[in-house]
């Protein structure tokens, strides 16, 4: 372990270590961030949801988008797997189907960054009940 000999050293170390904790700090206030949920049921995984999830994790970080990527169960759109749900801060969430790497890239560049919708949207035609209300 190298010694920390100046305040600047400490700041550098802090910024370096911050990444390791980011996942937890983000969780304190997920509403202010982009939330991406990847459907990871058997059908999703079989269609490559795992790769998509890794892609989002890596690329959102690399493109400096403050986001929380989590996995969720089957959303019911097994015909359109892999599916993901994206929620921008203060907006209703949008579900995208048939997400391959190309579409994932579009979603980040267009929808997440500029709010422009891209192909593959699955209209949500049901309502979920909220047990907390």
């Amino acid at each position: 372990m190298s010694k920390i000999t100046t305040l600047a050293d400490l700041k550098k170390k802090r910024d370096e270590f911050k990444n390791g904790l980011e996942l937890r700090t983000k969780a304190l206030d997920p509403e202010s961030l982009v939330q991406v949920k990847v459907s990871m049921a058997t059908c999703g995984i079989a269609s490559g949801a795992k790769t998509i999830m890794e892609f989002f994790l890596e690329q959102l970080d690399r493109r400096n988008v403050a986001a929380v990527v989590t996995q969720t169960g089957c959303m019911g759109y097994c015909y359109a797997e892999p599916t993901i749900e994206v929620k921008l801060p203060g907006q209703e969430s949008v579900v995208f189907g048939y997400v391959d790497l190309k579409r994932a890239d579009q979603i980040i560049e267009k929808y997440i960054k500029t709010g422009e919708l891209v192909d593959g949207i699955i209209p949500v035609n049901y309502q979920s009940i909220d047990l907390n209300q």
Binding site: L10, G20, L21, A27, Q71
Partner: protein, 597 residues
């Protein structure tokens, strides 16, 4: 470095530790390994989450899922269901005690809603055995700021302006204490951290040390710089092995980074910390007794002055602060005096950590702004009284404090209000009592503790408390008189006025406040020879209810002293002269034919 997509935080406080949280961590890792997920999911053992009632706790980040009462064998479901399939494990979720609905996000739990965490800011969030996580949370930045940008006088002024008062119980201004130690001229000075947490029901300091040891180390170094000391000592009781272990790791890590030791941040300031173990005597929480114990002498207090700030450890100027006081200091330095003094009440600033214990639903550790009412603490955060019983009182400040009742529920909690109500802040233990608790027995329980813990140096405490205890015993046995109640009060006042140290000066507080607030109950013990709460054995009598008794002889057969007589199918009789009041007959009776009179 691979990127983790999920963190599993497992509570590693003493409570959860005892409930096998280590095994949970092992099992989680094994499960992840078996599923090839070690690179994407990280398991971290953290400090106390505070919600000890429902421990062990596993928290899943980033979705904030809060699993309670997790057993080692649940690791498989958590990994298979939550981690792999993204489905929350319903049966392990916390359920709202009122609505009975599962709460999926810990932010929606009543227990956490009203809390504000300053001293506990990192507890349950970081791995206490990894200094890097502390640094990532701005750890040691306050020390860096102080050493490179501030003079010792400026540090003291900032702490003074923040209005922080010592969290050990006395409530003396931290900044003023530092100033006094700074003014003393000496070649050597000491910073001491008082981690001798001894009151029944208190576990605030232990949890801070177990969950975030670096915050205390950092603050001690800041204090060293402010008062001009190079040596720090932590006086901790040997009964806290986990806290000691984590402190040792923390000190080693800080030394390796050069954050403790010589020439810190290249500023020429040197400071190092070592541990001193106490054998667990309550009186050693008093600062002069603590210092004597560290010197290898008997843990007995001495008269102040001289104050430790003038002549303390090895007769050198010494500044003693409590763990929680220290833990808040880095935050105060970084966020400023104004920020801290904007929290709390007029004369008590900031937040206070309380340990909730006794007959309360959510036993655990909480931190709230000063000025929060008892009602909010007990009924909103604490979730109310166990088993739907009625609230009777709450003992604050441990055996040195007093018992507050229903009429105090809406009093904002701060140092001065508690004293005005006949209690005190103490270190922050809150023992909640319900309708089944007898106030005479309770006072006797606390006195028993002080009698045992009195060091015996001064007569009022040594002899007086013993007599108080005897008197309370007589009242519980139904041998007291009304005159005894006056005797209790008079003796209490004398002990308070004439004892040498804080132990004796406060030990009669439970008696006085319970006598004031529950006088009827005391009177009924001495005049009617009745214990309204049904706790005092000598005042109880087991009686057969003739209407219900069918003469099955079950009670007579179970009685260990053959106090029950009666033929089959005839009404039985309990001989009160032989009965030892064990209650076995009442438990056995299927017809509710035995009751307590």
């Amino acid at each position: 470095m691979s990127k983790y997509s999920m963190h599993l935080l497992v509570c590693g406080g003493t409570g959860c530790h005892a409930a096998e949280s280590d095994a949970i961590v092992c099992n989680l890792r094994d499960e992840l390994e078996a599923n090839g997920l070690m690179d994407s999911v990280q398991v971290i053992l953290t400090g106390c989450f505070g919600f000890c009632e429902k421990g062990p706790i596993v928290k899943v980040m980033p979705d904030n899922t809060f699993y309670v009462k997790v057993k080692p064998e649940d690791a498989q479901s958590i990994v298979a269901e939550h981690v792999i399939k993204g489905r929350k494990v319903e049966r392990l979720l916390y359920r709202d005690p009122v609505t009975k609905e599962a709460v999926t996000d810990s932010k929606n739990m009543g227990f956490y809603k009203k809390q504000m965490r300053i001293a506990l800011r990192n507890c349950g969030f970081i791995n206490p055995e990894n200094i890097d996580e502390y640094i990532a949370r701005d750890g040691y930045m306050a020390l860096g700021k102080v050493l490179s940008e501030m003079t010792p006088e400026q540090v003291i002024k900032l702490v003074k302006d923040s209005g922080q008062r010592g969290r050990g119980g006395g409530g003396f201004s931290t900044g003023l204490k530092w100033e006094l130690a700074r003014r003393s001229v000496s070649d050597e000075k000491y910073v001491v951290c008082n981690a001798d947490e001894g009151d029944p029901g208190a576990f605030m300091d232990r949890s801070v040390l177990e969950g975030d040891p670096h915050s205390v180390l950092e603050a001690m170094a800041i204090c060293g710089y402010a008062i001009g000391a190079q040596n720090g000592l932590i006086y901790i009781r040997a009964e806290y092995p986990l806290a000691i272990e984590r402190l040792k790791i923390a000190i080693d890590q800080a030394r390796e980074y050069g954050l403790l030791g010589k020439d810190i941040f290249g500023t020429g300031f040197s400071f190092d910390i070592s541990l001193r173990y106490g054998a667990g005597a309550f009186v050693c929480g008093e600062e002069t007794a603590l210092i004597h114990s560290m010197e290898g002498l008997r843990g007995e207090p001495t008269v102040k002055p001289p104050f430790p700030a003038e002549s303390g450890f090895r007769n050198k100027p010494t500044n003693v602060n409590n763990v929680e006081t220290f833990a808040s200091i880095p935050a105060i330095i970084l966020k400023g005096a104004e920020w801290y003094s904007s929290i709390g009440t007029e004369k008590s600033k900031g937040t206070k950590v309380f340990a909730l214990a006794g007959k309360i639903n959510n036993v655990g550790l909480i931190e709230v702004p000063m000025g929060t009412t008892l009602r909010e603490v007990i009924f909103e955060i604490g979730g109310g009284i166990k088993n739907g019983k009625k609230f009777k009182g709450v003992q604050t400040g441990g055996p040195s404090g007093g018992c507050l009742t229903e009429k105090h529920l809406d009093t904002p909690i701060d140092f001065d209000n508690l004293i005005a109500a006949g209690s005190m802040m103490g270190s922050g233990a809150m023992i909640v009592l319900d309708e089944d608790d007898c106030m005479v027995s309770m006072a006797k329980f606390f006195l028993e503790f002080t009698v045992e813990e009195s060091c015996g140096k001064c007569a009022p405490c040594r002899i007086g408390n013993k007599r108080l205890h005897e008197l309370l015993g007589q009242i519980c046995d139904g041998k007291g008189s009304l005159a005894d109640l006056d005797r209790l009060r008079n003796m209490s006042l004398v002990i308070k006025d004439t004892s040498l140290c804080g132990l004796g000066q406060t030990s009669p507080n439970p008696v006085l406040s319970m006598l004031d607030n529950f006088r009827d109950e005391y009177v009924s013990h001495v005049t009617d020879r009745k214990c309204p709460a049904g706790q005092c054995r000598s005042l109880m009598e087991y009686v057969v209810l003739a209407d219900n008794c069918v003469g099955c002889t079950a009670c007579a057969r179970v009685c260990p002293v053959n106090a029950i007589t009666g033929e089959r199918k005839e009404i039985h009789y309990i001989n009160p002269d032989i009965c030892i009041k064990c209650g076995a007959c009442m438990d056995k009776c299927k017809f509710d034919a035995i009751y307590i009179r």
